[in-house]
C-alpha cells in the first residue's frame, strides 16, 4: 500500500492506463500548462505530449461531442469538464449522444468515454456550487461513479477507462487533498457497480457516497460514542448501476436507513434511491427512511449563509436521533 491523496490517485490511474494503452487520451480546459484547475493532470502533458493530453478551447459541448467521436473512431478518451456546473453545457452530447448510441443504433457500436468532472462548493456562489449526480444517474446508458477515497478513485477510474460504455466520473473538490492507502499493484480495478460496507453496525444503516461518505463515517463515530448507537456505513461508490443487494442486505440487518447526499432534496439522487429501497425493503424497515440533503436553495456566496446549508455529519446524527 502507498499513501496517496485523492488527487494523486486520480492522476495515477490516468498515468498507468496511458502507459499501458496508447488509445487513451485526455482532453480538457487548462489541463496542460496550468495543470488542471484542481491540479489533477499536472505533469501528464510532460510525460505523454500534447497529442495525448489535449488542451482544448472552453467548449464543453464541443469537448464531449469530440470525445464521443474519438471514442467511435477507436480511441479511449477521458474528457475533463472543469466542474459539474459547466457539464450543463455538454448535457446534450452526454445524454443524446454518448448515452444513446449503443441502444439507438442497435448495439452496433459503443462509446467508451469517460467524462471526469468535479462537484463541490466553498464560497463559489450559486452557479458554481451544484451537485447533479442525480440527473446523470437518471439516464439509462450512462454509468455514474462518485468515489470517496483515494483507493476507490484510482480503481474506479481504471475500470471506467476500460469500460465500453460512457462513464460520468464525478470527483469532489473538497476530497482532493484527503489521503488514503492505495494498493501499489498497477492497474488494479475497483469494479463499477459495487457498493462497499465500510463500517459494520447493527442499529442503523447510513448510506453515502463521495464527501457525504466521510460525513456519514464521522456521524457513526459520534453516535457510537455519545448514544451507544451502532451504525453500519455503506459507500455506494457507483450510483448507476446501483448495488441494491448491498444496501438491501444492510437494511435487513439494521432495519433503519439514512440516505446522505449533498444534492437538492427535491429530485436529488436520494429521492429515487428512497423509493427503490422502500419497494425492496419495506418489510425490513422499523422506521421511515430518512434523508439528509441540501435544502432547495441555490448555494449563496456568503460564508455564513453557505455554512448553514451544507449537509454535514451533524444532520446525519440528528436524523438518526429522530428515528429512535
Amino acid at each position: 500500500m502507498a499513501e496517496l491523496t485523492y488527487r494523486e490517485a486520480v492522476r495515477s490511474a490516468m498515468r498507468e492506463e496511458m502507459r499501458s494503452d496508447s488509445r487513451v487520451i485526455l482532453m480538457g480546459e487548462s489541463i496542460t500548462g496550468y495543470g488542471g484547475s484542481y491540479a489533477v493532470t499536472k505533469g501528464l502533458v510532460e510525460e505523454f505530449g500534447p497529442k495525448r493530453v489535449m488542451e482544448t478551447p472552453i467548449a464543453e459541448a464541443g469537448i464531449v461531442g469530440f470525445a464521443v467521436g474519438a471514442a467511435m473512431g477507436g480511441l479511449r478518451p477521458v474528457a475533463e469538464l472543469m466542474t459539474v456546473n459547466f457539464a450543463l453545457l455538454a448535457l446534450d452530447q452526454i445524454v443524446n449522444s454518448a448515452a444513446k448510441f449503443h441502444y439507438m443504433f442497435g448495439g452496433q457500436w459503443s462509446v467508451p468515454l469517460v467524462v471526469r468532472t468535479v462537484s463541490g462548493f466553498g464560497q463559489l456562489g450559486p452557479t458554481h456550487s451544484q451537485s447533479f449526480e442525480g440527473w446523470f444517474a437518471s439516464v439509462p446508458g450512462l454509468k455514474v461513479v462518485m468515489p470517496a477515497t483515494p483507493a476507490d478513485a484510482k480503481g474506479l477510474l481504471l475500470a471506467a477507462i476500460r469500460d465500453p460504455d460512457p462513464v460520468i466520473f464525478i470527483e469532489h473538490s473538497l476530497l482532493y487533498s484527503t489521503k488514503g492507502e492505495v494498493p501499489e499493484q498497477e492497474g488494479l480495478e475497483v469494479p463499477i457497480g459495487r457498493a462497499a460496507v465500510v463500517r459494520e453496525g447493527t442499529d442503523v444503516t447510513l448510506v453515502g457516497y463521495s464527501r457525504m461518505l466521510l460525513q456519514a463515517l464521522h456521524a457513526a463515530e459520534v453516535l457510537e460514542r455519545e448514544d451507544g448507537v451502532s451504525c453500519e456505513v455503506v459507500d455506494l461508490r457507483t450510483l448507476r448501476p446501483l448495488d441494491y443487494p448491498t444496501v438491501v442486505g444492510s437494511v435487513g440487518r439494521t432495519h433503519r436507513l439514512v440516505l446522505c447526499g449533498e444534492d437538492w432534496r427535491t429530485g436529488g439522487f436520494g429521492a429515487n434511491l428512497l423509493s427503490e429501497i422502500q419497494d425492496r425493503s419495506f418489510d425490513d424497515l422499523d422506521a421511515p427512511i430518512a434523508r439528509v440533503a441540501m435544502r432547495d436553495i441555490p448555494l449563496p456566496y456568503s460564508r455564513k449563509l453557505e455554512q448553514q446549508l451544507i449537509p454535514a455529519s451533524q444532520q446525519i446524527v440528528d436524523a438518526v436521533r429522530r428515528m429512535s
Binding site: E29, S30, G33, P298
Partner: protein, 344 residues
C-alpha cells in the same frame, strides 16, 4: 482632446481607473486575510477597457460582463462600499452576499451582472438588445467577455442571432492572451478575435486595451453604429491581466518577462502622463486623486468588514419573485358555487 472629450471627462476616467486598481489591491489583501473567499478574479491591468468603453456610452445603456467584473461595476458608478461588502459576503453587499465577487450587479445602474459561466451572457446581451429594439428604446447593450469565451458555442450562437436580427449590441472582447492557462495559440486558430465577427458580417475594430482613449474611440464608434439601427458591432480590446487568472493561479504557463513587458504599458500612468502632457492635470493633482481614492477604499473595506452578515433566516429569500411556500399550498379555487367559474 480626441473623440470630443472634455478635460473633466478625462479626469473622471483617470479617477475611475485608479479606483478599480485600488479596489482590486484591497480585494486581494482581504482575500489573503480570508475575509473574501471563493474565486477572485482581478481586473488589474485591464482597467482601461471597462473605463473607456463605459465612458463612451450613455448612463442608461445596458452592461453585461463576465466574472472578472469589478471593473464594470466601478466604471458604471456602482457603490464602492456595496461592491466591497459583496466580496465580504455581507448583507450590505450589492447582491446581499448571494452572488459574491463573480456576480456583482446593479440593475438601477443598468449593470446586469457579472456572469460566471463562460459565454453565457453573450446571447443574453443579444436578447436585451432585441428588447431595446422592440420597445424602440434608443439604447444599446455593451457585452464584455474574454478571448477564451470565443471558443464556446454559445458565443457563436449569440453573434449569429445578433447579426441575423440586426440588434443594437456591442460585443467587447477583452483579448488578454489567455483563457485561464490556455494561450491564444492553444484555444483559437486565429489570434485576432475580431476575425470571428466577419463570418457574421459584423463590423469589427481592434483597439489598444491599454489605452483608455483608444477603447473610448472604438466603443463610441460602435455604439453610434448600433444606435443608428445598423446592427451589432464587435470591438476587440488588446489587453493583459497583470495578475493570475484567479487568486489560486500559480501562473506556470507564462513567463515573468512577458508580464514585465506588459506592465510597462500600464494604462494608468500612461493616461496620467498624457493628461499632464496635455496640461489637463498636474502630477500633484494625480497624486491627490490617488490619495482620495485610497481613502475611499479604506473606508469601503472598513464598511464591509463591520457590516452585518445576512440574517440566517433570509437564506431562502429571492429564490422566487413571487414566493411560494410548498408547506402551505393555497386552497385550490373551487368552481362549485362560483357562478362566474361555473358559466365557463
Amino acid at each position: 482632446m480626441p473623440h470630443g472629450l472634455t478635460a473633466q471627462q478625462c479626469r473622471a476616467m483617470y479617477r475611475k481607473m485608479v479606483q478599480i486598481r485600488h479596489f482590486e489591491d484591497h480585494a486581494a489583501e482581504a482575500y489573503a486575510q480570508a475575509k473574501v473567499g471563493g474565486f477572485l478574479h482581478l481586473y488589474i491591468g485591464e482597467e482601461a477597457v471597462a473605463v473607456g468603453a463605459i465612458a463612451a456610452v450613455r448612463e442608461d445603456d445596458h452592461i453585461l460582463g463576465h466574472y472578472r467584473d469589478h471593473g464594470y461595476a466601478l466604471a458604471r458608478g456602482c457603490d464602492v462600499k456595496a461592491c466591497m461588502a459583496e466580496l465580504f459576503g455581507r448583507d450590505t453587499g450589492i447582491c446581499h452576499g448571494r452572488g459574491g465577487s463573480m456576480h456583482l450587479a446593479d440593475a438601477s445602474r443598468h449593470f446586469w451582472g457579472g456572469h460566471a459561466i463562460v459565454g453565457s451572457h453573450i446571447p443574453i446581451g443579444a436578447g436585451m438588445a432585441y428588447a431595446m429594439q422592440y420597445l424602440e428604446e434608443p439604447l444599446v447593450v455593451l457585452d464584455f467577455f474574454g478571448d477564451g469565451a470565443t471558443g464556446n458555442g454559445i458565443f457563436h450562437e449569440g453573434l449569429n442571432m445578433a447579426a441575423l436580427w440586426n440588434l443594437p449590441v456591442v460585443f467587447i472582447c477583452e483579448n488578454n492572451l489567455y483563457g485561464m492557462g490556455a494561450t491564444l495559440a492553444e484555444e483559437s486558430p486565429v489570434s485576432d478575435m475580431m476575425i470571428k465577427a466577419e463570418g457574421y458580417t459584423m463590423p469589427a475594430v481592434q483597439c489598444d486595451g491599454m489605452d483608455v482613449l483608444s477603447v473610448y474611440g472604438a466603443v463610441q464608434q460602435a455604439a453610434e453604429h448600433c444606435r443608428s439601427g445598423k446592427g451589432p458591432f464587435f470591438v476587440e480590446a488588446m489587453t493583459y491581466r497583470f495578475r493570475g487568472h484567479s487568486m489560486a493561479d500559480p501562473e506556470l504557463y507564462r513567463d515573468k518577462e512577458e508580464v514585465r513587458r506588459w506592465r510597462e504599458l500600464d494604462p494608468i500612468p500612461r493616461f496620467g502622463d498624457f493628461l499632464v502632457q496635455q496640461r489637463i492635470t498636474s502630477p500633484q493633482e494625480l497624486a491627490e486623486v490617488n490619495e482620495e481614492v485610497e481613502a475611499e477604499m479604506l473606508e469601503a473595506v472598513r464598511f464591509a468588514d463591520s457590516s452585518p452578515w445576512p440574517e440566517p433566516d433570509s437564506v431562502d429569500r429571492w429564490i422566487y419573485a413571487k414566493p411560494i411556500d410548498p408547506e402551505a399550498p393555497e386552497e385550490a379555487p373551487s368552481l362549485a358555487g362560483d357562478p362566474a367559474g361555473a358559466a365557463t
